[in-house]
Structure formats: C-alpha cells, structure tokens
C-alpha cells in the first residue's frame, strides 16, 4: 500500500492495487462532512474502434456509445440505482468525456454502504431492448439541448475543423441518428471490453479511514469473478499534423458571436510524467501570454474584440492534444487574427520572465486552494491516475519548469499551419470581413 501525507492540501493519501487489477485511491479529509467517491474507466467517446488484445477483429461502434452506456448503467433488474442511493441519503451522478467515463456519489452518511452500491451497480450491467429504446428519447433531448448551446457548439465544431479523422472530432453523445443504431448486444460488447477492474480506478475522498476502505473494497471484489484482463487495442486512424479546415462558421439563435481558435498539438507525450509536465508548462505559457494580466488581453478588450468571457484551455493525451482560446466577440474574425498575430509576436520576442513567474505563482496558488473541494480533488486525482501520472506531482513539477522551456513549448505549439478557428454567428448574419 502506498501512503503519504500532504499537509499543504490537508490530505492523507493512500493507494492500493487489488488482486483483480482495480486501483483504489483514498484521500482522507478528516474535518469534512462530505464523502465523495468516483469510479471510473479508461473509456470515452473516442474509443470507437477497438479489440481485446489477442482477438483478430476490431469492433467498430456508432458515435455516442460510451455515453449511452453510462446512462444505461443506472438501470438494474430491480429498478433504478438513483433510488438505492436516495435510500442511503446520497446523490449520484455520472459523466463521459473523450477518454473517460465516471460514476460518482456524494453523501454525508452511510459511506461504506454507498461505496458498495456504487461499485456493485457499475459492475452489474443490465441492458434490454425496452430500456435501450426508452433512453433514446432522453439522450435525444440531451443532444438537442447541446445543439442549442452556443459555447458548446463553437467548441465541438472547432474540434471537427481541426481533426481529419481522430475520433475526438465526434460529439461525446453522438447524434440522434447514430444512437438510433445502438442495441443491448453492442452495449454488452463495449462493457465487457472496457469495464474490467484492471481498466478502472476508484477514488474515495472524505472523512474515511483509508485502510478500512481498501479492505472493504478488496472484500467486495474478491466475491466477484473476472476473466484475466488481456489489455485493450485501440485503433486510432493516422492523424496528420495539419488541420482539416482553417475556419468554420455556424449560425445559431444568439445575439453575440463566438470565436474559438485552436492550435493542434504536434508533440504528443508518450508517458505519464512527460504528459503532466507538458500540461502544466503549456498552461503557464498560455496564461503568461494570453492571460488577463497581459497587454494583449487588455488591448483586445479595448478594441472591442474580447470581453470577460475570454479564456483558454489546454488538453493533451497520448493520442491528441490542443490549446483552445477565445470567447464571445463583437468582431470574431478580428479576434482570431489578433490571437494569431500575438502568437507570432511571441515566437519573435520570446516569453517575458516576469509574466512567466507571475503565472507560475498564480497556478500554484490556485492548485493549493482548489483541493478544499472534494469533487475537484477526486476529479483531479482520477484524471492523473488514468493518465498514468502520480496524483500529487503537480506542485513539484510547477516549481521546476523554466521560462526557456516555455519558449520552446511556444515554438512547438504556435503555428498557423495547425491553427483553426470556429465562429458562431447570429442567425442571418454572415461573417464580417477582417477588421484588424
């Protein structure tokens, strides 16, 4: 068992890999009331073509299966899992991303009973023709809700523009048409591939005794039998470095246009520690170059190109990565131009040491403060473990990055040949000519 205290976060961490391969991480926060647990699998919307190691044929699945499966896990032969959690005073939820599916509960009582419900329901699939058909209406409404959400549309359309064939370009929930093809058999096939304990991680945070959690989970798992886990082959199509489209425009019933600019990552990390370093370094780079403390953001606001919705994010995995910047804009095309021009300026003049140090300090402080929320803590630890990094290395890595590395990162990341822009414009409005 691994064990360590992190007084700067007020967390005692403990982790153990059980006999069947399930990784359990416990984050003790003794002064808290809340118990927050999250059970996750390395399986998301981009896993559209896969096979178990040793099998001959790949399985191709319709878009949106991982998310559909997440919805359907909540159904059991004897009713709805929400009722079981309600009986124990807990609230439950789940979410699916491009590379992860997580099930969670939050409670203040019955910690162990709730953990058992969580693990048991996720390890007990129950799909029927009838319950699958019923879910199509519900998920159809979820898809339509997102279709009307301008920020989300702008973001997903950007991914579609940036990527030629990598499945990160597909909507997480799929489309009304693609989910129509989903059957119980297909759900079982995906379940059996991706929900093996060796492909999963359980994170429990709160006022719990970590040894007791690990014992209880070991006992729970020992009662269930699983085939040995051969590993999963995911087949991602070869993705060129270039973007598929330089810019895309869509019209929605909005009053304000949106502009998001994406830089596609050329350099994909191959191991967990490189990934963590690249993620943190790029974050500090983007904040020091495009953050609110900088001259560029100030000027973009003064010129009416950006407002308080402007922001950036960076995401990187072993198979795809990108930085995305932007927000609402009265002159969306001019905002894209301003972002591109500033990126080019940085390549010429470098990254200012003062800005870099300030951003580092900010990122460090935000990280320390964020783990007062158990959901943020559990989500971060889960994400790090799934990516294969140590869950509490971030602070140390942040302290070790340098401005020279940041400049080198800028040279890899900022380039017009792998930049796309996505615009959402009010209905009936065409894109404005470039003003800048």
């Amino acid at each position: 068992m691994n064990r360590r205290e992190y007084p700067e976060y007020g967390v005692d961490w403990c982790s153990e890999r059980l006999d069947n391969g399930l990784e359990v991480h416990v984050l003790e926060k003794p002064d808290f009331h809340q118990i927050y647990a999250m059970f996750s699998t390395r399986y998301g919307s981009m896993d559209t073509r896969f096979r178990l190691v040793g099998m001959n044929d790949y399985t191709d699945v319709p878009d949106g299966v991982a998310h559909f499966l997440e919805h359907k896990m909540f159904e059991e032969p004897d009713g709805d899992v929400f009722q079981q959690f309600a009986q124990l005073g807990a609230s439950a939820n789940a979410f699916t991303t491009y590379d992860q599916t997580s099930y969670l509960f939050s409670s203040t009582t019955h910690a162990f009973e709730n953990m058992k419900v969580l693990v048991d329901f996720v390890q007990n699939p129950y799909f029927t023709e009838e319950n699958v058909a019923k879910e199509k209406g519900i998920i159809g409404e979820e898809i339509r809700m997102y279709d009307d959400t301008a920020d989300w549309r702008c973001y997903t359309e950007l991914l579609r523009a940036m990527y030629h064939s990598h499945p990160v370009r597909l909507d997480i929930a799929g489309t009304v048409e693609s989910i129509a093809k989903i059957t119980p058999q297909l759900l079982y096939r995906c379940y059996e591939t991706f929900y093996h304990p060796a492909n999963m991680v359980l994170v429990v945070a709160g006022p719990v005794n970590s040894s007791r959690v690990v014992e209880a989970m070991a006992e729970n798992q020992a009662k269930k039998s699983f085939q040995p886990f051969p590993g999963i082959d995911r087949d991602f199509p070869r993705e060129p470095v270039s973007v598929r489209e330089k810019s895309v425009r869509h019209n929605l019933a909005v009053r304000q246009s949106r502009c998001l600019v994406g830089f596609k990552e050329k350099n994909l990390p191959t191991n967990g520690s490189d990934l963590l370093r690249q993620e943190l370094l790029t974050g500090v780079l983007l904040d020091s170059v495009f953050g609110r403390a900088g001259e560029t953001f100030e000027k973009m606001v003064d010129d009416g190109l950006a407002d308080s919705t402007f922001g950036w994010e960076y995401e990187v995995t072993r198979s795809y990565g990108h930085a995305i910047l932007g927000g609402n804009s009265a002159h969306p095309e001019a905002l894209a131009t301003a972002i591109r021009q500033h990126a080019e300026r940085v390549l010429e003049s470098g990254v200012s040491n003062i800005d870099f140090e300030r951003s580092r300090k900010k990122t460090l402080g935000r990280l320390l403060a964020s783990y007062d929320g158990l959901s943020a803590l559990a989500r971060d630890v889960t994400a790090y473990v799934l990516k294969g990094t140590h869950p509490f290395d971030a602070l140390h890595v942040l302290q070790s990055i340098t401005v020279e590395e940041a400049f080198a990162r800028a040279r890899e990341l900022f380039g017009t040949e792998h930049m796309s822009a996505s615009y959402i414009l009010p209905v009936h409005e065409q894109a404005q000519p470039v003003m800048a």
Partner: protein, 428 residues
Amino acid sequence: METMVTQNHSGISVHVLNTSKFRSKHWAMRISIPLERQLLTSAAVLPYLWMEGTSEFPSSRQLVQRTDELYGTVLRTSIQKRGSRHVMDISASSPEELYIDGAQALTSLVQELLLSLLTKPALESSGAEFSSSHVKRAIALHSRRIESLYDDKTTYAYEQAILASCQGLVQGLPKYGYKDDLDGLTGSHLFSAHQEVLKNADVDFYCVGRIPQPETFSDQMIEALRPHFLSKCRQPSVLPVDTTRISPSTNVHVEQQKVQQAKLNRVYQTNVAYGSEDYPVAVVMNGILGAFPHSKLFVNVREKHSLAYYASSRLEGMLGLLVIYAGIQPDKFEQTQSIISQQVEDVQSGRVSEEELTFTKDALLNQFRQAEDQPLSIIDFHYSGQLSGNPSGMELFREQISRVSVKDVQRVAGKLRESATYLLTNEG
C-alpha cells in the same frame, strides 16, 4: 463545527467563521440596496466598474497582475437580485498563507485590496467622477453582458418566466438593468450612484478561514468600513412578492426562436416567505416535486415518458415563487403540460409516499450538511438569513426539515397559485 460570530454597527455587520478546516480563505462583502427603477442600471454597472481599477492599481490589468502575484487570489464582483433587494457583491479567495513559504502577509494584502475597490476607486482629477476611460470600458462590457443573457436558452427562458410573474413589481426588474439606460451614464452619474450606495446600503462583510483573533479582526473591519458606509440602521427584511398585486394566470407566453429544443417554464406563487415557519415545508415540497432524480417530475416526465433530459423545479425562496422547467420537443408541449399538472395535483392532494418524503428529507439533509464543507455555501446560507431577518443557523434549519410531514406538505402545496407559463419554442 465552529460557528459564525457576528458583530454589528449601524448598517454594518461583520461575520467571521474561524476554522482550520480549509487550505484557503474566503471573503465576501455584500452590499444591499432596495431594488428600484431609478438607480437600477447604475447600481448594476458599479460592481464591474470597481474592477476597472483603483487609485493604487489604476487599470483592470494592473489589478489582475496584483491578484495573480498574490498567489492567484480570485477577486471578483457581481450584481445579484435577492427578492426585493439589489445586492452588489465583492468576493475574494486565496490559498492559506500558512502553507506557502514567503506568503506571510497574504491575508492582509488581499483584505486591503478588496476594501480599496470600494474606498479608493480610480477617479478623475476633479474627485467627483469615475475615470472616463474606465466608464467607457465598463459600459461597453455591461452592454455585452445584458445582450448575452439571450444566448443561454435555459437561463433565458427561466428568467423570462420569472419576469412575467413579477410584472409591475420591483422584483420584475432585470438584475443587470436596461441597455437603453447605458448611453446616458457618465462618470459623474456613476460616482453619485456610488456615493448613494455607500450612504444607504446595508453591508455584510464575511470572512471564512483561519482567523487567529476573530474579535480583533471584527473590530478592525468595522473600523475600516465605518467611515465609508453611513447608513444608521438596517433595512427591513425581504418579503415575497405581494400576491395581492398580481393576478394568477394560466396564460401561456410563447416566444419563437430558431432552436432545436423547446423550453417550458411554469411559475407558481408559493405564498411562503423565506424564513417563515412554512419555509422548510416549502423546501421539502419542492424536493418531492422536482429537485432530485427520485422526484415526481424526473420520474414521470423523464424516466416514464422519455420526454426530456431535464425536468425539475426550483424554489425561489426570496421571491416566494416555485418554477418548473423542462427542455422538450416542441410538439410535446401539451403532453408535458398535462403530466406536470398531474404531479402538482398529486402533491396538493397528499399523494406522496412515505418513501418520497424520506428520500427527499435525507437528500436535503445531505445537501445542507455538505454545505458546511463549502465556504461560499456557508456565506450564502447565512446571508439569506440576514436578508430575511431570520438568521437561524443551518442546524436549526435541518431540524425543521426533518420534522416535516406529508400533511404539512399537502397544506403548503394547497397554497400554490399558477402565475405564468412561458414557452420558448421553435419557429414552426
């Protein structure tokens, strides 16, 4: 759990919760004035104008540089509507200095900065108007803030339903004010609005975190605020919308836009004031109806009939309203309406199982216990008590929740009066 300690002086209250539970520290300053048409838009602009700079950090950028230097301190301002009150909020949070090498003065520097937003704004040399470049920026950004309300369809439809239910009342004024007012606002208008706010407002200052000497802290804070906030006494408590002034109506307001999903919003008057004896009952009633995945709306609209991804209800305690909202297919409006009506009728006629009651109470108790782990929830809950003149603690509230019976729920549900239905739907 440690308790919040309050010290009052005239219209100023300082609330301190000294706890070593967190690795961060949180401040909130809530400045409240009566909602009214005259000052509406100016009051809405002010909190954002304050963030444009102070005399010491005279631009928004310099202010952000300062907070970033202070280990990523989050400093933000906003305007809120709480019943018949317009509330300006300045809040800050920073990591606990004890756990960072070289950060000893962090707490006092953050506090100083937070206060300076109000007490040392950046003014023109006349000293009687805000910096004109700041005003120009703040107004441009505020105009975009008002416009963008239209873009989030769920929130937009919800707000339209509330506004339709409060027509002709101050509660029906939009929190951001009106775009048409913005053109006329100058640095001197806004500065007189600023002074008027300081003269009349109730102010509640909160700090949650490690505060070694809470009494000294409160004394110092009152001393710091006293010269600026001149109100002699606190204003009367917030009351729910006066239902005698709005007639119940089952009319449907329809708006058409180019959307995929229709948003159905139905509003009821509860006739229950926040902080009154019946309030905990109303909270339980809302839970049974639509706050949880075991609630009637979720089970019937979503799970049984697959009509929606979300179908919920929310209690607007300070307004005395209950709002039911769902995202549906435009052609399913009638069907959804009748299912919703059936759920409300079931609660009104006491068709509530023991299980529904227990699940709801347990879920609420879970929520309110978790709230004690969240500094902002602690502050929000306490502040609602302050506004309603009934600052009973969270523990008492939980006790009241656990005593609610089906009969209580039925009685309070009997007071529900439908006041408006708003449907945002596609252009068909």
